[in-house]
């Protein structure tokens, strides 16, 4: 059985990193129910995924996609329980983008992705420093 230290030392699959990021992002973002700044924790979610990835570009990508997917799941739940797309159109209208609600949704996802991506990049470099893999 592989120890935890060895687990992190070994090159892990992109998919594993991605799943960990999605799970962490989903759970950490849930703190947003009570804490306005829970979105900052998306950096942490990306960090966890990136920590497993031995290439910088992939580290970024795992965080970026992981958080986007986690947030997308939230949006899908909202879509089921509320008129989120109508609301997206209203929001777009506030910023002069009438009828382009998808742009605001996309912006949200990209913002989350960037937070996760930067977290992933940090995770990758920190892992590299700790395990001296570079």
């Amino acid at each position: 059985m592989m120890g935890i230290g060895e687990f992190f030392k070994e090159e892990q699959s992109f998919l594993k990193g991605l799943l960990i990021t999605i799970l962490a992002a989903g759970l950490l973002q849930f703190l947003g129910m009570v804490w306005t700044y829970a979105w900052i924790l998306m950096v942490g979610a990306g960090f966890l995924g990136g920590f497993l990835i031995k290439k910088a570009g992939k580290g970024f990508l795992v965080g970026f996609l992981g958080v986007i997917i986690a947030w997308l799941i939230y949006f899908l739940i909202y879509w089921i329980i509320g008129p989120i797309w109508e609301f997206a159109d209203v929001l777009a209208g506030l910023f002069g983008l009438t009828g382009m609600g998808f742009v605001v949704v996309l912006l949200s996802l990209i913002l989350g992705g960037l937070l996760g991506g930067l977290g992933g990049l940090n995770g990758h470099y920190i892992a590299s420093i700790i395990f001296e893999t570079d």
């Binding site: 947003g32 129910m33 804490w35 306005t36 910088a56 909202y78 209208g93 913002l111 937070l115 470099y125």
Partner: protein, 840 residues
């Protein structure tokens, strides 16, 4: 390794920088991190609809059940009034908290705290008026002397605060997410300070300034001719005032000061609508002898500026302590302003008088003012305005015996700095000068009693506390109908030592040293103009003059409504022997323009004479436009402001042009833009004095023109204007240019209504202007009011302020389709959701 550490430092720094950027607001853009994450703005749609829920609170006495009907209107059933008010507080807050916040912040001068430095001038204006100081006094008085009512206001505040306490990040209303701030708790003070704003905005505050300017600009004989006394038989008491006034030798000082105050008044926000528009209202009632059902019928529709969320929040309030009232509330106040219970119904229109505010020119000497022969210290208050995103602003408010010095506002002070002289003008307003222990002292007390009244005597007992000047129509199930002109109308005396004289008007700026008109009390409540069960079997009001010259007290003159709506209502109420509630709906939606019925036949005759007798020819477009008016006049749509017709656009523009052309002398006197003479004078001249000198074209020398010339000149100008602005004649359709638009309180188009063509005009019973009009319509049959098919109500908006709620615009779309909704009482056919408030 070293390279990796450097890279990590760079990435970590970039990450922190990115996070910091996402937490900062840039101008109108909120902090994007808080805003765009899944638990930021995106939770707003989840709160759009009502769902069953239970709310626990220790301060409740028992259980309260709230049923939301298909229009989102809550029906609150409580055991005590305390719990009823608690639940209403919760409902107001959960549906309209941002609006409530605006309603309390504007009169307290605290908007800059929420929205930044652009509000500082408006905040200063209200701090000078001192509504927050007056409200504090009222709250302290109520706490000591009106404990029961105070406790109800506290219960309402507790309900509001209960809602606020539940606001986790996912439940914060949209507006606060946009502003990046959190709602603050509510208190009885907030309700009281709002009542000042409501009364002030309905006061028509500038009339005295207008009349002072007009007296400055117009030759005395002209002023007397064009702004006549409505109250016939008045004594020549004005003369001393005018003499007093002419001692103000430096005309420019006064004029520049008044203009500055007017500019100040015009630039600040008007919660109930723009005062330059035709604020007004209709109400009327008939007794059982004039209704098909044999019961009294009542109708009311206050005309105010539109806004989203609406000014109104409809509610049905029931308690075991005698409350069972339905109608509309202002979010911020826990009482029904217009509505009915099982026995009585009432509605309000504004009194168009000019007696609410008097202005005084004060003589100052540093820290003192001169009054009644000696110098008195000015009262001063240090005011601090907190400003969002900027340093706080500190300034001093000064008060004389009359009231605050409005000229201490920056707008006037800055004029002085630029070299314009200014004088010191204070203002005295009825709203802050009533005896807290007497009549007219507290709308909350008044409306609480009125909401629970079961007959006219009980209703009247509440009405005596009502502090705003209103024409109150009343009907009950015992057959009584009544109209009361109520409010604190000052009685004045000439100088401090003078004798009370009900005819004194205070309608121009007074000398503040004690020799001008001073207040000597108010018209006693029992002597206010009222009629109860008149022999004609109906009562009505539409902001026209309240009463004729036989009345011994002054209420106002020349500021009342033009009177066309009143004439139309009265003619309709005499048009049939008996009416139904559907007739009353039709009347409220009536688009017959009474002014057109008076002026248009004359214009057509003048045209016929010009073309057929005098043989004059006109530009083809002018002839086509006139042909549209002829077609209108000969059709079944005659004088109706139908959105599909072209003629209404032409008439609307023409009558305004004709008015301006007739009074073209005003610009020569430097009085353009000021209040024009009452339109009744123009109608009188047009009908009976076609050669009046007022029709002379001031721009032509050597010839004297008459009515016909001016009417046709105005018509040519009208056509030129319409062509220049709208293009070819087929584009002149009324509905293309007359469209209802309900703007969101934050001015955001995405949260505002679409622009929809709408019938009616400013001046028809359906008194529609583009950003205001009938803000609510209520009709009721006073039979068995406990049943659900007796009363109907509508307002252009919706109960819920969440922009994706199905109740955000639902009532608006009914409104623009000229529909009403059934006011449910004993049975609610569709219950959309149930909220239960329990002690715990």
């Amino acid at each position: 390794m070293k390279g990796t550490i450097i890279k990590e430092i760079i990435v970590a720094t970039g990450t922190v920088g990115f996070i910091v950027i996402l937490t900062i607001s840039f101008g109108v853009l909120p902090a994007l991190g808080n805003f765009l994450n899944p638990f930021g703005i995106w939770t707003v749609p989840n709160n759009a609809e009502y769902h069953d829920m239970t709310i626990k609170d220790a301060c409740l006495n028992g259980t309260v059940t709230v049923y939301f009907d298909e229009y989102g209107v809550p029906h609150i059933f409580a055991t005590t009034d305390h719990d009823l008010f608690f639940a209403l507080g919760y409902l107001h807050a959960s549906n309209r908290f941002f609006e409530m916040d605006i309603f309390r912040r504007v009169p307290a001068g605290r908007m800059a705290e929420l929205l930044g430095e652009s509000w500082i001038n408006t905040d200063k204006y209200f701090r000078i008026l001192g509504f927050h100081r007056a409200a504090q006094e009222v709250v302290e008085y109520m706490r000591e002397n009106q404990t029961d009512m105070y406790n109800l206001l506290q219960a309402y505040a507790d309900g509001v605060n209960k809602y606020i306490s539940t606001l986790s990040p996912v439940k914060i209303p949209l507006e606060y997410k946009l502003l990046g701030t959190m709602p603050e708790p509510w208190s009885p003070f907030d309700t009281i300070v709002f009542k000042y704003l409501q009364s002030w905005d309905l006061s028509g505050n500038l009339a005295d300034l207008d009349f002072t300017l007009l007296q400055e600009k117009l030759p005395p004989a002209v002023f007397k001719e064009l702004y006549p006394n409505y109250t016939l038989g008045m004594e020549p008491f004005q003369e001393p005032i005018i003499q007093e006034y002419t001692t103000l030798q430096e005309e420019n000082v006064l004029v520049s000061t008044i203009k500055a105050i007017k500019a100040l008044e015009e630039t600040r926000i008007h919660i109930l609508g723009d005062l330059r528009a035709d604020l007004g209202s209709n109400n009327w009632a008939v007794n059982g002898s004039k209704s098909v059902s044999g019961n009294p019928l009542l109708a009311g529709d206050p005309h105010l500026g539109f806004q989203q969320p609406s000014l109104w929040y409809e509610v049905h309030m029931v308690s075991d302590e005698g409350y069972n009232c339905t109608g509309v509330t202002f979010p911020a106040a826990p009482v029904i302003l217009i509505g009915h219970n099982d026995h009585i119904a009432w509605s309000l229109t504004n009194v168009g008088g000019d007696s609410h505010v008097d202005f005084y020119e004060e003589m100052l000497n540093g820290t003192h003012y001169y009054f009644n022969g000696s110098w008195h210290p000015l009262k001063t208050y240090e005011e601090v305005i907190q400003v969002k995103g900027g340093p706080s602003v500190t300034f001093t408010v000064r008060e004389t015996i009359h009231g605050p010095l409005i000229t201490d506002h920056d707008l006037v002070v800055n004029l002085t700095k630029k070299g314009f002289p200014a004088c010191n003008i204070s203002l005295k307003w009825t709203g802050t000068n009533v005896d807290l222990n007497g009549n007219f002292s507290n709308e909350m007390v008044a409306l609480y009693k009125m909401n629970k009244a079961t007959n006219f005597a009980e209703f009247n007992e509440g009405l005596r506390y009502f502090g705003a000047m209103q024409n109150v129509v009343y009907a009950d199930d015992s057959g009584t109908i009544a109209m009361t002109v109520t409010g604190p109308f000052p009685i004045r005396k000439q100088g401090v030592t003078g004798v009370a004289n009900g005819r004194l008007k205070g309608n121009v700026i007074q000398n503040g040293t004690g020799v001008g008109e001073e207040w000597a009390g108010f018209i006693p409540f029992n002597e206010l103009p009222r009629e109860i069960n008149p022999s004609r079997c109906w009562v009505s009001s539409a902001n026209q003059p309240s009463i004729n010259g036989s009345y011994p007290y002054y209420i106002g003159e020349n500021t009342f409504d033009r009177g066309y709506r009143a004439r139309r209502i009265n003619s309709l109420l005499q048009s049939k022997a008996k009416f139904t509630i559907d007739d009353f709906k039709t009347f409220q939606l009536d688009i017959y323009d009474f002014s057109a019925s008076q002026f248009l036949p004359i214009l057509l005759d003048v045209w016929n004479y010009s073309v057929n007798v005098q043989g004059k020819t006109y530009d083809p477009l002018v002839a086509d436009a006139m042909n549209e008016l002829f077609k209108w006049n000969q059709s079944d749509q005659r004088y109706l402001f139908n959105k599909s017709w072209i003629a209404p656009t032409i008439y609307d523009q023409w009558i305004r042009t004709f008015e301006q052309d007739t009074w073209d002398e005003f610009s020569a006197w430097g009085a353009s833009g000021l209040r024009l003479p009452p339109v009744g004078i123009l109608e009188n001249l047009t009908k009976f004095q076609p050669d009046s000198r007022w029709f002379d074209d001031n721009s032509t020398a050597g010839t004297i023109e008459g009515r016909n010339y001016t009417m046709l000149k105005s018509f040519n100008e009208t056509v030129a204007y319409l062509q220049a602005n709208y293009g070819s004649i087929e584009n002149w359709v009324w509905g293309n240019h007359h469209q209802i638009y309900v703007e969101h309180l934050m001015g955001m188009e995405a949260l505002s209504s679409p622009r929809i063509p709408i019938d009616g005009r400013s001046g028809t019973l359906n008194n529609q202007w583009e950003t205001g009009g009938p803000s609510m319509r209520l009709v009721i049959d006073l039979g068995d009011a406990s049943t659900s098919d007796r009363s109907y109500l509508i307002y252009p908006g919706g109960e819920n302020s969440n922009p994706v709620s199905s109740h955000y615009w639902d009532l608006f779309y009914l409104y623009v389709a000229n529909q009403y909704h059934n006011v449910y009482r004993s049975t609610i056919p569709i219950v959309e959701a149930t909220w239960t408030f329990v002690k715990g």
